[in-house]
Subunit: 366 residues, 4 copies
């Protein structure tokens, strides 16, 4: 992308017509009061059934990591330059040979039909309209075949490796056949975490909503199973959930194409550090051998800027997409991404950075 | 213990039948809404007389140490590994030749009959069912002989050394004769602390509840008296209340078999550090010469993991047991321990640690 | 200025007659309950239309920088001396050959007619009465010619460099012809920030209020345009919005006469550091080659003292002037400055500093 | 003092008869619910006229230093030893040849008749009963001659040096003739501070209450005037309000017998550091040449312990005495001191310190 701000700046983007859309059931949703991503969370809380909201919004145990993800991003101070030429911003990045207009992906999150009747189809349409890659969760409530039909931008696929190898292999091959461009294997969940808030609402999928690729947990997944999967995968494989530099090393050794620094948004193990705090050590160890993505707490354009300045190639956003989806279906997803993109562009302009390559550690106040 | 999670994970453990039980007076208690140990505190506050609750819940003076015990545990960040084989967890530890299925003991706490009509008998039954050692307080409101009858797991005994040496010696010998496996001598209480909240409710034992081994305080207890007691004790003697490395050294010199790093849960001297903050210095000085236990603020499985990672051989929990007892008698005690045990197992699995021996300082984010 | 406190100390300054004045519309305003600058903010919030208050009070995004500006000033501790002779305070400083009785200027802020019907005329009168330089914003709602008529003290002029060079040059020359003593070029705003609170109230200028020198934003302003402007300016040019030592260097290289360390009061890019945190690095790099001014969060006399101790030659106050103006027109502006001046004098006396030159880093507790 | 706890421990000290006393006006005051010094503040707030309460309770400006005084004390962690012999505590200290049973003095505070009808007479009686030295303020509302009549323990006198040298000299000589054992010269108040809360209630002495030795402020007091006063004083002279090591040096050079590390309880200059934070630097510089006292935020026995551990020879308490006085006259003053003394003794016992000399820096957790 070249040539100035591609999307309207937040607070200046609303025209009433553009922000109203028809829901399946005929109701009209008005997103004109949405100024930032936090607004979507508040709106979603009012619209979603409590069980669904608790599922999306909650983290493990006392939710320290959930808060730390945000607090650590907020606490990072920027060190801007002025009077650089930022009249032509280029926010594009290239990942595994594919050029993204801006470095933000839709993170894999489960069960979209509990958030919005159109479920993953709305997410796919909304992400595509915003020119973003959608990483479909293996806990999707919509079959991949249907998602593929509506996605006009590339999609990736996330999965867990299960004891049932046959099932796992079939699922990978189906995703590849449907055009999935990369696979994200979640490696941080040998067991579920202490999901107290989910337990408190007795979370379960409502009748009539199914997750076709969801199978039981497994305790015996190790590096060996990752090697096995990488051995037959035809697309780049990223390991999602790496927090330890040693594990980043091992990922590279077994042939992973990328890693995603993630603490599962604080949903699995409470009191692991914020991902933005972990990122620099991983970046140092990986030393540009493979791309590094990061998720966890991204809510502001400045958060994206900070993650990139500290070495991420791109970021993923999960909960905000869910809240956008719950608030306004595909339009909500699009608007979530557009706000974040516009804020990111503002942050680049206001720090004197015209390209992604110019965003480095010198931008962080020390 | 070998072979996966022995107890159901929190939030997945409740079956209505299992969580309901008959109280002595015929009332039925429903613990199915208890998800974590904090829930027990809230439930107990609603059930206990104010005087009893204040006795259990309060600390000295402004309760800084009470809060610091928790805050310091919460603030420690974990540095997990992924894709290790955690399909077979072994959480067992051996203390003084006895193998514990998991490294959590019931700390000595006073006056259980003010918390629940069944008092220490319920505690003993509940702890035994959860396979945990119960350290009986010398301020028990139930004679040791009765406790011994219901305890199917080993018990230890805590006492103060008093001016009345004859009394002290007799009490030790009685405990030993009844099968007590170890003695914990509390060394941090030459005088009571500024227990303002207890003073405010004018705490005293209700009529009809007696503490048979409770005698007046003493100011003249020194290392010499400890040596004397160790000289005739037939079971391992642990000194409870050590916070200074020099005192840990002295304890070893006079023949103590173990020490318990404890600040009396912040009930004696306010503004002493959190025990988890003190632990590493004691561990360094003791250098594996004798086992080190720790109490103070343990509420989450991750807390247990952190204490062990920083060098504790096991931890004790006090107030949570009291709140479990007050909430649901023996069942409440059992559930308290089971939740903590299950969370600890989850924390091991989610950090890639399959054995206690593999839990070391590398697990702490620095 | 020599000879003791020139203005009455806060809390001792009110005589009813002096603090009441006539507004244009005939209402009488009573400022006798105003003790400090925070009182003006509260009073202004009660008097201003919500849109105007939000415009003045708000910062960008989550307003971290807005809060940090204050918190960083508050957190700096003073290291006072006693028993120095402070019977004759001299608070004067000289900037570009002009002697100011005390080192506080009125920062450029936009749209004064939305705050008070007399707009910039009241500001000019109020600042003049308090012997302070008024830096008129190029977003003034009153023509410079009229401001000049009422200002009995010197004024400066702030502007943005725009794509329309002719317009820019004409504006500079008009300001110079009207007697403007210095120009402040704002360099930190290539685009607007994420002004969420302004977006939420849909901020725009009310009918009947115009900003005659306000023209559209520009993205192509660089060091080259600054050089161009300096080449023809006849008065000292200060660059406002410098946060990076490298940019301070460049400013000197292209011939700037001074710089203003500013983060636009946290209105443009959230999570840039507090200006008082940035100041010492700029001071070190500039090394007295040109004067350094600072704005951002100044509310107390001790704040002025701290900024000067850390190397600022003078400070500017913006929002407090707006709140003073909204609360009491010219009198409110005067009282705002007088309170700050009196507090500054108290702070000098109480730290044992009789002159501005004696205020240095030794006054900061480390 | 030798031989165990001399005063009953807090929370165990109340017998109804002892805690009730007759006020001048015949009302009975019940102090039995007072457990700690904070209780007195709450009780006093309910009893005092707002103007008087604001006078006592308030600090300068935003009261950062007021809060820091407490926070810094609270944040210091203790490093206790166990099993030392603390059966015989000796809390006595010797200051200028006079032995105090415990190291706590009554700080000079102004205008006691606005707090209680008996004013300084009640303070003197209450302090004497508690065996504490009372430092009478030169802003006393009771003549020294009357105070002398009721004080059965020694008293000291605080004063400001004024332009009127004759007046100052006469006041010193009167104090000496009446038996004053030491003089405290306040050196931190060349002008008053930004006492916003006092301004807000328009503080002034009520009709019928006079401060006979109060004369106007002065700006011209320097080291020279201190030398002059020391030259004719017959008793030890302490300088009160020293925060800078250089000023401690100068105080010794001109012959001061002691210094009081004080920030005027945060009433003069906001954002000076907590006195307990300043203390170690002063202690290091003074290097035992003269005694060092400290005031500022002492509310707990552990605070006294910390100040002594960091090098103070004794501490003074001001506001707590005022609140005790307002709550219960002489009895309130006595009880305030007794609670603090008892807590201090508990803190010594619980840290294993039997004498003041054994309280040193090793007691502070680092």
């Amino acid at each position: 992308m070249t040539g100035g701000l591609m999307v309207p700046l937040s607070g200046q983007s609303q025209s009433a017509g553009q922000d109203q859309f028809q829901l399946i059931n005929g109701n009209t949703v008005d997103l004109s009061e949405i100024i930032n991503l936090f607004d979507f969370e508040k709106m979603a809380e009012g619209k979603m059934p409590k069980m669904a909201f608790e599922y999306v919004a909650s983290g493990a145990a006392d939710e320290f990591t959930v808060r730390w993800n945000r607090q650590a991003l907020d606490a990072i101070k920027l060190n801007p330059n002025v009077l650089n030429d930022v009249s032509k911003l280029d926010t594009s990045v290239t990942l595994f040979g594919h050029k993204l207009p801006y470095p933000i992906l839709v993170a894999p999150t489960a069960f979209h039909k509990i958030m919005h009747p159109e479920g993953e189809l709305a997410t796919a349409r909304g992400a595509s309209k915003a020119e973003a890659i959608y990483v479909v969760s293996s806990f999707t409530t919509t079959p991949l075949e249907e998602i593929k039909k509506v996605a006009t931008e590339p999609f990736w696929f996330q999965l867990y490796v299960r004891d049932d190898k046959e099932f796992t292999k079939n699922l990978v091959q189906k995703a590849e056949e449907l055009g999935c461009r990369a696979l994200c294997i979640t490696v941080d969940t040998p067991v579920g975490g202490a999901r107290d808030r989910q337990a408190r609402v007795n979370f379960k999928l409502p009748d009539g909503i199914n997750a076709p690729y969801r199978i039981g947990e497994s305790l015996s997944i190790t590096w060996k199973e990752m090697e096995w999967l990488i051995s037959f995968a035809k697309v780049p494989v990223l390991l999602k959930g790496i927090l330890h530099p040693d594990d980043a090393d091992k990922a590279i050794e077994i042939g992973a194409s990328g890693i995603i620094v993630s603490n599962h948004s604080g949903r699995n193990l409470d009191t692991v550090p914020a991902t933005i705090e972990v990122l620099p050590r991983i970046v140092e160890r990986v030393n540009k051998r493979i791309p590094i993505l990061m998720d966890g707490g991204i809510r502001r354009g400045t958060d994206v800027l900070k993650a990139i300045a500290l070495g991420a190639n791109a970021v993923l956003v999960g909960k905000p997409i869910c809240f956008g989806l719950a608030s306004g279906g595909a339009e909500g997803v699009t608007k979530t991404l557009e706000i974040l993109r516009a804020e990111f562009e503002m942050a680049m302009a206001l720090t004197g950075r015209a390209t992604i390559a110019s965003i480095d550690q010198s931008l962080i106040w020390k």
